[in-house]
């Protein structure tokens, strides 16, 4: 069992946990994730390791409430325990000194991006960060990202914070004014796809962190498969980071919708049960 030691509400839909998982805390590197399962009835869901504290054996994860399992997680408190936390899984980010890097995060993807930013800064890069979200309250980890960024650009759809518009607009502005050696985009599939288009047009290589449906997370089922450079890759063991211009985006985005009816059924049943139990 894995105990939750701290629970913080970051926004209306985003929650942060610190969890005691000493083996993961000792090994996790930027870009890696865990699979967790709440209890015996639960499903296995992947979440990025946002930060670790090896001394206390804890890891920090951030999730967005989008369905049954994450809604159930939201109702857990400090002191509650999770049945399983497995990891660290996936390949770590290629951290090295590239020169000047541009990193772009959207929504809850910022939680995945943050350890990458930190790693890149510590490796001596000049880090330009763009964070985007629908509205002000959804731009999480602002201060932490600022701490490891040489420049921080904020973008919201409604203009409630920073520039009004899309992260791709901000990217274009950066590419127009200076030379970037390597870029990252982490967020919703559609955002990563458009970021890839912009970077590719500017001839800047870009890494994306894919978040397909996963079961085991250890390469034994192929549920998370994606075509990269026309070859079948398993995101859980070959990724989750890939070069954006090599990803078959249509296929990737389609496969995300595979279980929509079942996901809605489960979420609705859960909400009805919560209403019955708690009014």
């Amino acid at each position: 069992m894995y105990k939750i030691t701290e629970r913080t509400v970051l926004s209306e839909r985003e929650i942060e946990f610190w969890i005691i998982a000493p083996r993961v805390a000792a090994k996790a590197q930027p870009g890696q994730f865990v699979i967790l399962q709440v209890d015996q009835f639960g499903e296995r869901i992947p979440l990025t390791v946002c930060e670790t504290d090896e001394a206390s054996g804890q890891i920090r994860v951030i999730f967005q409430v989008i369905g049954k399992s994450t809604a159930e997680l939201k109702h857990l408190n400090a002191g509650d325990e999770l049945q399983d936390v497995v990891g660290p899984l996936g390949k770590p980010t290629e951290i090295k000194n590239y020169g000047t890097v541009l990193v772009v995060g959207g929504g809850v993807g910022i939680a995945v991006l943050y350890p990458v930013i930190r790693g890149l800064k510590q490796a001596g890069n000049h880090v330009i960060t763009i964070l985007g979200a629908k509205t002000k309250d959804l731009v999480i980890l602002r201060e932490e990202c600022a701490m490891y960024s040489d420049e921080l650009i904020l973008v919201t759809d409604d203009g409630s914070l920073g520039q009004k518009g899309l992260v791709t607009d901000a990217m274009k502005a950066v590419f127009a004014r200076e030379e970037i050696n390597q870029a990252w985009a982490i967020g919703p599939g559609i955002m990563m796809r458009y970021c890839t288009d912009v970077a590719t047009k500017a001839e800047v290589p870009i890494y994306v962190s894919l978040n397909p449906i996963m079961i085991d997370g250890t390469g034994m089922c192929g549920c998370c498969r994606v075509l990269v450079n026309d070859q079948i890759k398993f995101a859980c063991v070959d990724g989750p980071e890939f070069l954006g211009d090599q990803v078959d985006w249509d296929g990737f985005i389609q496969r995300m919708h595979q279980y929509h009816p079942e996901e809605e059924e489960a979420y609705q049943a859960y909400q009805e049960k919560q209403v019955q139990l708690n009014g």
Partner: protein, 469 residues
Amino acid sequence: MGKRSFNKTPMREQAPEVRQHNFKEVALGYNMEEGQLEAARCLQCKDAPCITHCPVMIDIPGFIRQIKLGNMAEASKILSRYTNLPAICGRVCPQEKQCEMVCRLGRSKKFEPVAIGKLERLVADWELDQPTDVTDVPKDKGKVAVIGAGPSGLTVAGDLAKIGYDVTIYEALQAPGGVLTYGIPEFRLPKRIVRKEIEQITEQGVKIETDAVVGKTITMDEIMHDFDACYIGVGAGTPNFLGIPGTNLNGVYSSSEYLTRINLMHGYEFPKYDTPVQQSKHVVVIGGGNVAMDSARSARRLGADTVTVIYRRSSEELPARVEEYQHSVQEGIQYSWLTNPVEYLSDEDGNLKGVKCIKMKLGEPDDSGRRRPEPIPGSEFTIKADTAIEAIGQGPNKVLLDTFPELNKNKWGYIDADEQTCATSVPGVFAGGDIVTGAATVILAMGAGKIAAKEIDQYVKSHHSMATV
């Protein structure tokens, strides 16, 4: 005692029209009376060939004689000397290719062989209901790590614990059992039986650490530092895909994913359990092994209207167990022999709507001695399908192997280990089961485990005596 019956004593089964709608066990097992009747058919051969054709060499006439006499405790004691998982092997071993194939009774024209597997199951199921009586062996011989809690790892662990080793099994998933837990469905192998049989191993003092992915959570360096020896039994768990166009459409699965969702995650009990599995109308399963049978029969139980197994060879070459094939036919599974898929067809939303296939003919024998299937040009046709499940085999999982380059591998990427000793190129590191042989059977993996346990004992003893010199 009357005359021997020509046929095996039949085992009661759930009726096909009932069982195709549930995941409960199909074969219901012998009662004592049926067991004794069947046991009386055994000729009690002196140099019994059945023993030498069992990969763990169980004293088969010995335990059968005890059933005939009604001494179940004695029969169970005999079994436990040779096997750690009798309730499982009695159910899933391909006995027709092993012990029962050479049964002398079965060799005579009119007779079927003795139902050895069903008798093993009878004894093992009886034993699981008895209070366990564990003799506490002090664990002072040394520390051994076992990587992977499948049948071979469990066997190594059980055997070493019995003779005084302190054994820890590291398992990547949340539950031990390997393929017994995530692969073979409930209707062939109830998970209650798997859990109980594993409990009997942990009662010997074996520790099982789940959620531990060796290579990621724990490194091989740490294992080699902390233990006197280790055994790698991680199986052949990475699915192969044909890679034909449309492989990434929604509705196309590997059998590994399909069966893991159903068995490990209880997808057939969605939404009581959170993991969904696709609700299908028309299912195509590709392959002819036991995994293909398990996938097809599971799809049927989830409510599919039609389930069609397509196999590139003919019924003669089907590698699956005859019993499972017959069960599947009784449950309404259809077969399209000499057929291979060439493309998955998509609707406008990226969902599978059909499998384009081509007819095959058998040509000259290949390396395996089986006639090679060849496509017949111009014979393409389409089967309507919203779900396709590829059960075309697995390869070695690289998560551990990639972090341990010192270990020699063969040209297929499996671990190069000596079949007689399970020793690898790294001293103190042993390996067996599917990660050495490629996907094979539960009992062969157990056989490797038995060998490895003996060799590990030898290795640790000589190492310790060297250290004290």
